[in-house]
Symmetry: D2
Subunit: 357 residues, 4 copies
């Protein structure tokens, strides 16, 4: 079940970085929904590579071709399949990596799991490229959620330790999220974004990489969504988001900071606002006991620095079992955080829609 | 599917804090396994309340009665069901909470989800008490893992900001984990543990509460366990651990700290040790791309301060929709972190065994 | 996942014929539902043994004790667990069967699967006794379906070749089904039932056994329930019903007879009746392409003759691998068909409710 | 989950009869497997239309294009996606059917389920055409099973009441199955096949259709495969086979005939053959209690007469709700049984491999 996300909205992703194509089958979309392809491609462009100086120069059309599931532009109840052709692949870059695993990549793990049969070219099925079909599915789910009055959006909370100004977790609005989503560099405070970009470029010059944190919000959910114990919102959202390459941590509301707070500080007092039960603060991040509270969902996602760096690294030749060194050439992002933003939004949108339908 | 964890080892937990009994059905245990009941009860005692000054005075036998699945003390391939009677319940404590949700508890969420039909007594199905059957199942899985050469164990990494000395994530041994597990207060450095206990008692005196972080290790896994994308180790482990009440964040290896590291610092160089491929450091926490690397698994779990505090709090009367205040009486832990340690070990053990079988 | 039926209404059955208890955990029942225990026990009594001359003399209370999931007699959203104590077990009857598999029982299969660790006493987890908790769960689901205007009921269509008069599959009414369900021997035509009973008693006198066919109807479903392809009504209903011991075949509508019909004879012409689209005949059994048509669901279930017979049979000693003979003593039904009727109704009711919720 | 079959070998089918393409994603194939494309296409040709006088004249290339999952012709652990372009579609044939449901087709059901948004062209996602990707997946699974010493093969047991000579269910061999599979009309006794073909052509001349029964065998399974109760071989196989359009009944071993046998006749005596425990007869069809016995699996599948017939039929106009008549033109098989044979083999092969891995 490795490549499938969701139960009713079921998203199955296929492909490898250098296979003929990658794509996605989406089951369970409500019949009669008309995907807005312009919006969809604009959303996918936020993830696409080669758009600016701090992302890999690999350029791709990333134009999804829908080959089933529509009649006259509207969903018909049958699974929707979209295919994205792979092009501009340089498989020869990877020849020499066959037996030389790159540190902190999945290479060695895949080699062990698949007995050396795994596709090493471009990271194979572990490539970040597989997030393109994820974003396609996410774009559709976001459009359906929007029709239901639910907005999902994320900001880059920090890169290389440079912090953005967080939105107010108790009062974040769809409008604020839309503004951030429209920016080429999705932060709240553009000056903070400038500092992040400087750090990324500095790492690039050093042939190194940097990581960061993404904060994702979901606004508009009614209280009562989710299940207790093992199939609640936290369980489902974290399981989805850990499917994005490079994610190393997930937290809700105050998250790890909650561990250093006292209960009197962390607890969120209730109050009524316009006849609805709200909390004054939102340390609980909109979820308690697996179930939505009606407050905005707030989730933090830690993204590691890109594993592919130009600096020489120590590794092992799996054929000879001798220590060796490796210098990765190819084309790589010094920071994947900006491109990971729509991926996180997609994983969240798919999961929420799956739980809502 | 809310109360079920796992696919092949399938653990279904039932009961409410004040129902006649709580319990668990475990499907998929290998036939011929003999649960060591002494070990099982000793493990469950680590979670049980009423053992010392910083946990709730509610005392329970917590003695699981196995009513199916065994023949002459060994599993027979049929589901094993264990029942734990509830006793020493004081339901009247909860009468007045019927319409007055406690801040940062699941009360309001459950009230919305179940249209006011939810069991409010002792938190109902959201009670930490439901972790008793989880620990019963965990104890059995830990015993089976041990027979397979795999050790799961956790330390309290910090409480109220007081840090323990972490074990070396790249070299942690089963012996070290056994030493910590044998302590009444499971830390590496007992002096650090003393400071944590002081903070807990200080919070108790203030009628307040504190949180903390648990670090869980799994040693002995071969490389290659797990699946790419949505059903990897991170996805499955995080989904399991978020089933424990009070957990607000989960991370692997360097976790959120990875977000501030450069790739050259975060990447783990490979080397051969005794003919096996290892990494010198373990910032990846034993998992990459959803698949085990053969290095120890290292997972951090953030636990919030106990929501039940003796200080007066602002809330809302759901019947009248008027703002009001609430002072929680009952009996509550000023810190649930120590009792959550075997719960985390259980969730991890069940999930690993499920993925191994 | 062997002992779990359903996805949203999830029924997990545990126990062995001679374990301390058997029981069931039901997840997903709507909150606020009040099980009618009198009705429930009356329904379960239809399955219970020892009621008349053609069923095993083993007598049991079969009184389910609900140990979780209710508050003041109503469901609260937490899993409902019911336990039925085993009593009147004679385990010594089974000592000698340990290595001597009974023909056409699961003994040999279980011995191979569980490496000889399986519980042989009374058939262990393969015992028909495990249908008692199935019927408990079925009784609850039938009550909820009834509140939704849906009636599930079955008739014995034939035993030992003696046919009952079938109800009109296109026009069967809830009232007709209620009349049959109220009979001690659930047939449409009591004279036919008399002949069936004669055949059962004749087989009993011969220390032999007979089988039969059960026809189950579901009335009141709207068109549109179900999914295409692999999770439609036929897939789900057949998978559920094959969980009942002794079932060897399942068909819908005209079933195997359809194989000998021409399309012009088998196709059901549409017509409007009171503004609803109906079919004049119901050879499709209320389901096409996995989806309900709004016509009554009609499903036939073939039940084999009881495997336990008093006549000497050829078998093999699994220890010595020598051919031997076996005469089964114990207490056994010469025909399980009458007791299987509420089991089929239960499997259907649970599955329909699961798909409706 | 409607379009997905299997849990570890997970087959997700997409497409509609007249969408741009149909196809399948197969997850879980063992890494290093080299699909034999010649064999695969030969197997798919057995299902393909337009090959002879008794099947629809619609001709298709049905040539699957593999777009992911292979490296140098071998599986790499990533999901394998195959796409089959649709061509030779005549959508205008279906214009007038938009609101006029064809009797005994899924049209009306789909119209109700998808609120009139369903794809009516060629039956949309309910079309028998969707069995082409099923057969592609089946062909691959059959090849892997063959490498494991397991053979799956089927014979046409009867058409229009004309019976074939059944193979000996207790002693059927892979060689016998291979002989039948190699025939253009897969029967045991070619004279019987001749009579069946005569009946098909007679029905065609009458603008009518006929049905039949397929018997599928699986040889080479060890005892012990399967799970008790709800996830046994019968549950899983029947659920899979009911996913094939037109299937109305499924039975194992003696099937519905068992209902008229006595226990002494139906029970299969054990004996040892070459040191293995076998049964002399095989009325149990290789499965008891959900678990394989090591004897050949024998499953019967009832297939209804083709719903599309040239004779005028009564139906209803869903827009006006008035009774009307319909004469189906288009191109249709007078009997789908021969083309359904590889579909049944595929559903069985996928399910067995899924349970074996």
């Amino acid at each position: 079940m490795s490549n499938t996300l969701g139960e009713k909205i079921k998203v199955t992703i296929f492909g490898q970085s250098h296979s003929e194509a990658i794509g996605v089958v989406i089951e369970g979309l409500p019949a009669g929904f008309r995907p807005d392809m312009e919006k969809t491609e604009a959303f996918m462009a936020r993830r696409a590579p080669g758009r600016n100086e701090y992302s890999t120069p690999r350029r791709e059309e990333d134009r999804p071709q829908i080959i089933s599931g529509l009649v006259d532009g509207a969903t018909c109840g049958a699974p929707l399949c979209a295919v994205i052709r792979n092009s501009d692949t340089r498989s020869r870059d990877y020849e020499k990596l066959k037996n030389i695993p790159r540190p902190s990549h999945a290479d060695f793990k895949a080699w062990m799991k698949f007995c050396g049969r795994n596709d090493i070219r471009g990271g194979g099925q572990f490539s970040g490229r597989l997030t393109a079909p994820l974003c396609f599915a996410g774009a559709l789910c976001l459009q359906i959620l929007e029709q239901m009055g639910i907005t999902v959006g994320a900001q880059i909370l920090e890169i290389a330790g440079m912090p953005d100004k967080p939105l107010d977790p108790a009062r974040v609005s769809p409008e604020e999220l839309a503004v951030i989503a429209s920016k080429p560099f999705p932060v709240n405070d553009d000056a903070a974004g400038e500092k992040m970009r400087d750090e990324i470029l500095r790492a690039k010059r050093d042939m190194d990489s940097v990581g960061g944190i993404i904060r994702c919000y979901a606004v508009g959910l009614l209280p009562g969504l989710g299940e207790p114990m093992f199939h609640g919102l936290e369980n489902r959202l974290s399981a989805a988001v850990f499917g994005i390459p490079g994610v190393r941590g997930v937290s809700f509301g105050a998250g790890f900071a909650a561990a250093r707070m006292r209960g009197s500080e962390h607890n969120d007092p209730f109050e009524t606002v316009d006849g609805r039960v709200c909390t004054k603060t939102n340390n609980h991040g909109g979820i308690l006991g697996g179930i939505s509270s009606g407050m905005p969902i707030v989730m933090d996602v830690a993204v590691k620095p890109t594993a592919s760096i130009g600096i020489s690294q120590e590794t092992v030749d799996l054929k000879t079992m001798e220590n060796t060194t490796l210098t990765i050439e190819g084309r790589h992002d010094p920071c994947i955080v900006p491109r990971a933003v729509p991926c996180v939004e997609s994983a969240v949108a798919i999961t929420l829609l799956d739980m809502l339908i």
